[in-house]
Symmetry: C2
Subunit: 286 residues, 2 copies
């Protein structure tokens, strides 16, 4: 018997579509129903074999599902869960793929009717492309999906969510939601804030040589790739993980200030060891 | 007749080796002599066909050369030029590949004997690899080499340097040295300062989830690739382009501060337009 009988995916894009693909491919799900507002996209999901069917009404779509995966932008997740909660089948597990967890989990846990369960999750995977067309079964292979149980989390529901991400090919570290938010603030949210600021600063600089950005080479392009990420998704992240992002931004500013002092004072030894430490740490994650 | 009869390359690594390769390949040079301290590297340059011969003594190596290319670290360039200046043949043009130009040009121009000429240059090209083994004739193809004449620059010497970089496949914008330094501070030096600071900050953060960097995904790795650059080279750049780097760091900090305020106040509209402007500018340079 498949792990999941009916899977409902709300938001069939890169994240939702890829999970549906891999679970089908591994025989871990009997039937996948896509839910969303864009009918063309959902129809395409059926054509591509990602979905067995689709539904524009979430309340209808989740009926009889034993697992619901909410893969919509972070800010919308609590509203989506509030809408579907009364229509969930007994025993249904709802999980999500949002990049911020305390906001989501705090809001969603109290919405769940008796005998249904919410478990927060965050697959650390993605590409710069989006939409069901961009989805592929290997997206989660060799990646991590952080799952964020709380004291209220049902152990069987947690085990089910862990198992489905393992089937998708990911390792599944567990963290509490606040701890997750601080980790991703440092390794993902802060770099995005820095990259967005850098591109805006270089663009806004007074252009001594005409159009500055036209002089940029490969290094700048690679360095700023993440500044091309979706502005709405990142607005939501900045709004919902505010405290951890502010903390890491301030922490980063302290290092930048230290480096500024080394540059200002012409401290060759200090500069070299600042750069060397960074290179060593960076090379270690290659 | 070849554009250059004898080319002397001081510092035969990626930059010097690649220029020698392409000029030979295009028939723009009759003879290439490599100069450096590492004899094994120079011998390898001869084996690879990059050099016709080599010389451990720079004064001897430049004798009879009509073009000298100094491709050593920025801080060393004035000392190298001071050493070779008395031994240059009449009409000889000396140029360099340093990443900072005002420091180099201000120091080197006064060192040149009557009838010999210095022209500063900076090819905006490179890879993360170094050494003559890593050199290849196509390195400069489709790139830019900024050449930085001053009021004292000899027009014929300038034309020769421009022509050799064009033969190498690059377009050759002209800027004065200070203008060059501000342009590269913004598009290259600032991003490096930011990347080095970011990796150090994330490494130094108090690791709520254990080893933070182990959670980083592809985005973080790409974003921080430039933080693996050579610490000594970047120490030299930070020491010699201090003012322009401080100016761009302060400019960047202003943008980071603006973003911090948007995050702190939860200004959704402001966040979205900050991210959107960055995305548009970044997408335009793809």
């Amino acid at each position: 018997m498949a792990l999941i009988n009916k899977l409902a995916v709300i938001g069939v894009g890169l994240i939702g579509g890829s999970l549906a693909r891999v679970l089908r491919e591994k025989g871990a799900v009997s039937r996948v129903v896509g839910i969303g507002r864009g009918e063309a996209n959902l129809r395409r999901g059926v054509e591509l074999g990602v979905l067995d069917g689709y539904c524009l009404d979430a309340r209808e779509g989740v009926a009889g599902a034993d697992l619901v995966f909410v893969a919509t932008p972070v800010c919308s997740i609590p509203a989506v869960v509030a809408e579907i909660a009364p229509y969930l089948a007994p025993g249904c597990v709802v999980t999500d793929g949002g990049s911020v967890k305390e906001f989501v989990v705090d809001a969603c846990e109290p919405l769940m009717p008796e005998g249904t369960f919410f478990v927060g999750g965050h697959p650390i995977a993605g590409t710069e492309h989006s939409g069901v067309e961009a989805s592929f079964a290997e997206l989660y292979q060799g990646k991590r999906c952080i799952v964020t149980p709380t004291k209220r989390t049902d152990p069987a529901a947690l085990a089910k969510v862990v198992e489905l991400w393992q089937i998708a090919g990911s390792s599944v570290p567990l963290m509490d939601p606040a701890q997750h938010d601080r980790v991703v603030a440092a390794i993902s949210h802060l770099p995005h804030m820095v990259a967005y600021s850098l591109v805006n600063a270089v663009d806004g600089y007074d252009r001594p040589g005409g159009d500055l950005l036209s002089f940029s080479a490969g290094g700048f392009r690679d360095f700023t790739r993440i500044a091309s990420s979706d502005p709405v998704m990142w607005r939501d992240i900045a709004l919902t993980n505010r405290d951890a992002i502010l903390e890491t931004m301030d922490f980063f500013s302290g290092y930048l200030e230290r480096l500024r002092t080394l540059v200002e004072t012409g401290d060759g030894g200090g500069l070299e060891s600042f750069f060397k430490n960074s290179k060593q740490k960076r090379d270690a994650i290659l």
